[in-house]
């Protein structure tokens, strides 16, 4: 069960710095929504042509908020769904079997639509790769884009985001914790570093699974 890497409360022996406040998170989401509207030439009359798919856990509320923002700005509500890519991960055999999250695609599926994958943190890129594989089995979108709240670097695959809320250069031993009201009770983005800074460390894979 994946409980330890989901723990986002304050932990002893860890220094937390707030990178984004609740107001910053709201502004950032609004900005990404505007960028999606612009880049996809979003038409309220053809709103279902764009589908936002949140990657569990925190990509899901992010996708819902982006969709709500787009609807507010344009009057047209894009499709929203959940895509759990656990079954497509390349690291399944490295840890005990994970529990699965729900998957829910909007009516009409993803065929010939523009899909925007939404996640909280972009790290190694492996989650996104798994999501792309999962998406391929659900249908054939016209195009796929990626929106993330934070890009923390350390890519292990040739993957980049189309929409980035904030670029944060990090050391591997540091953790990015995105907190969202729906899951964590408040909005914030924190940078956490272990007090006895083990900068070369990074054998583990703390926070932001990819």
């Amino acid at each position: 069960m994946a409980s330890s890497w989901r723990a986002r409360g304050d932990q002893p022996g860890v220094v937390s710095t707030e990178l984004l406040s609740a107001a910053d998170v709201a502004r950032t989401i609004a900005r990404i929504a505007h960028q999606i509207i612009e880049k996809t030439s979003f038409e309220p009359s053809n709103a279902a042509d764009v589908v936002l798919l949140g990657l569990p856990t925190r990509g899901v509320p992010l996708a819902r908020r982006l969709a709500a923002a787009i609807a507010e700005f344009t009057g047209g509500a894009p499709g929203v769904g959940i895509l759990d890519a656990t079954l497509y991960r390349d690291d399944l055999r490295r840890r005990p079997a994970r529990s699965l999250e729900p998957t829910a695609l909007p009516d009409g599926g993803v065929d010939d639509r523009l899909v925007v994958l939404v996640d909280d943190v972009l790290f190694s890129g492996r989650t996104v790769r798994a999501a792309l594989d999962a998406l391929r089995d659900h249908g054939r979108p016209r195009a796929v884009q990626l929106a993330v709240l934070v890009d923390r670097g350390h890519r292990e695959l040739p993957i980049r985001a189309d929409y980035v809320g904030k670029n944060v250069p990090t050391a591997r031993a540091e953790q990015i914790a995105v907190l969202l009201t729906e899951v964590d009770g408040r909005d914030a983005v924190l940078l956490r570093r272990p007090q006895e800074a083990d900068r070369q460390g990074g054998t583990g894979r703390p926070g932001g699974t990819g």
Binding site: D84, L92, L100
Partner: protein, 316 residues
Amino acid sequence: MRHLISTADLDAISANLLLDTAERLKQALLGREVRKLPTLRGRTVVTLFYEDSTRTRVSFEIAGKWMSADVINVSARGSSVAKGESLRDTAATLAAAGADCVIIRHPASGAAQRLVDWGGSINLAQRAPSVVNAGDGIHEHPTQALLDAATLRERLGSIAGRRIGIVGDVLHSRVARSNVFLLTTLGAEVVLIAPPTLLPVGVADWPCQVGHHLDAELAGLDAVMMLRVQAERMRGGFFPSAREYSIGYALTQRRLDMLPEHAVVLHPGPMVRGMEIASLVADSPRSAVLEQVRNGVHVRMAVLYHLLAGAPEDRG
């Protein structure tokens, strides 16, 4: 989780985890063109069946294949078992050939557990295969109970606090035993309803109630699970005649009308229409027989996922 031998080994957390996983797999595959997940690529699953089976075997095979495992079917007929090979040697052969998981159905109660015990003693470079009990004699059939629970959860919305009647040949039923443990673990109240001759010795110690009069129980049930009368396991007279059994314990249209509006009818199959269940009842919208089969695939996918997808928890 390393093996699945008995539902008595499952606590509420792991039972719910399996049911949740099954539900999510079902969602993930819903309406898809490509019903194939890469999750168990490179894993080898062997079904080893010493008894006849349609739905269990087929659904295990589909479950494995939809998750990209290599599934090999071995039946007693047509294998070296017919030449006199012992279960132990057959099991060692499958392990040596590279099976990651052996799904076994056997007429002897305890056969699956024996496989687990031998796995520890067989000296192999790789780890011993996971064992899934697909029915051992009159002992247990855990994946059947899991798919029954999945179907009940889907139809009723919840299992905790529900009252579920299991009717008929409890004595010879591994399905009944597995269901009693699982459903009580999940918080349901189980009542076994059968003639005294078809109840096992020691049933008083099971975590359930016992009744002998079906008509008296029907109004209080949220679900009724009809069991097949297992003529092939019967030597001697357990009831005077098939007709007399039917009069006392078959689910007829009259009895269906005595159930509450929301109650569900389950049957693990194969059904003997006219014996324990009337044809009209089996085909009525209250019956969830085909949903049970459909859920069987997802539940078995969930079991294979939790046994085979993750890192090995322990060796042995």
